[in-house]
């Protein structure tokens, strides 16, 4: 607050920021919840539904999202082409194999408020299946959103020292 000019402060308050979110081993619903907050602009104290204060969100590693339970086999995405006999139902697995960004895209789309601003907010969402991002987007990134789920460590991710330091609970 101390040494900013009025113009600089105005610029910093109303500028559109770019956020990064890593979706590796995360549930897509939680990813969508975190992005929707940023896309709407609800994380800002100057939020108003009509003031178009949403930010950009770049989601990487959408190919490596993780559904809990049996949702890969049980969750069904339905659509209708509009033609008779055109009701299509696809499982989450099939949809993910066809398009690795589709699940996160649908999750975010369905979580946004159902108004005319939804389409503009979806244009500010950028999805990438791996962690390869175009250079111009990479230059814009400001901050990384923390991952919603704490990823547990696998057994091979522990160092041998940590494994040796853990006491043997029973002796053979």
């Amino acid at each position: 607050m101390a040494s900013y000019t009025k113009a600089a402060q105005q610029w910093a308050t109303f500028a559109r920021a770019w956020y990064l979110l890593d979706a590796k081993m995360q549930p897509p619903g939680k990813i969508a919840a975190a992005t929707v907050i940023r896309l709407e602009g609800r994380h800002k104290p100057i939020y108003h539904a009509l003031s178009d204060c949403g930010d950009h969100v770049v989601i990487i590693n959408t190919r490596h999202i993780a559904f809990s339970g049996n949702k890969w086999e049980q969750k069904v995405y339905s659509s209708h082409t509009g033609y008779p006999g055109g009701f299509k139902q696809v499982t989450a697995t099939q949809l993910h194999l066809k398009d690795p960004t589709a699940i996160v895209k649908l999750a975010v789309y369905r979580m946004l408020p159902k108004n005319l601003q939804r389409r503009t907010m979806m244009q500010r969402l950028h999805l990438f299946p791996e962690d390869v991002i175009p250079e111009d987007i990479e230059k814009n990134l400001l901050q990384e959103i923390p991952q919603p789920r704490a990823v547990p460590r696998r057994l091979d991710e522990y160092t041998p020292e940590e494994i040796a330091a853990f006491p043997r609970v029973w002796t053979p």
Partner: protein, 175 residues
């Protein structure tokens, strides 16, 4: 039917000990290392007992099972792979209770946690050995969460909160 066969087995074991060199003591339980020594014509293959460094004393030595002895009764979860990996074989199956010394309820809880850890992919090197060069046909997808039926048997829920299951299942899905 069980009683006569038990008696027969027990009696046979008693008599085998007597017929041998008197009362033979049961073999000591320890990890053994196979040592092969060749002296001239003779090759001796022996299982030498590995003398471990003295294990640290557990905080509660008067417990019946390892979990009680180390005061871990309601303290572990499927993510504590360092603990769970001590009770599994190299192909991912559980070790029998008579070997590990766990009490029945803890053995069941650990089994559930091990199953959850396998489904979450936290034990990648404890897979069952597949015959020949069998390649998995299904596409590999991350599924770290656990089915609700497993969560119902999970120790963190078993402890005292079965009555508030619905609300708390949501809480545990946030972990």
């Amino acid at each position: 039917m069980a009683a006569p066969s038990l008696l027969r087995g027990g009696l046979r074991r008693l008599f085998a000990g007597l017929w041998g060199r008197g009362w033979a003591s049961p073999p000591a339980r320890a990890l053994r290392e196979v040592v092969e020594v060749t002296e001239g014509n003779t090759t001796t293959i022996e299982g030498k007992i590995i003398e471990d460094a003295a294990a640290p004393t557990p905080p509660n030595p008067s417990g019946q099972c390892p979990i009680c002895r180390w005061n871990l009764k309601h303290k572990y979860d499927y993510v504590d792979v360092l603990l769970l990996s001590q009770f599994i074989r190299s192909d991912g199956g559980m070790l029998p209770r008579r070997t590990t010394g766990l009490c029945l309820e803890e053995h069941k809880k650990i089994a559930v946690c091990v199953q959850m850890a396998h489904r979450a992919g936290l034990l990648p090197n404890h897979r069952p050995r597949l015959p020949e060069g069998h390649t998995p046909k299904k596409p590999k997808l991350n599924r770290p969460g656990n089915t609700s039926e497993e969560k119902l048997r999970c120790p963190m829920i078993c402890s005292c909160i079965r009555s508030h299951l619905g609300y708390l299942l949501k809480l545990f899905q946030d972990r």
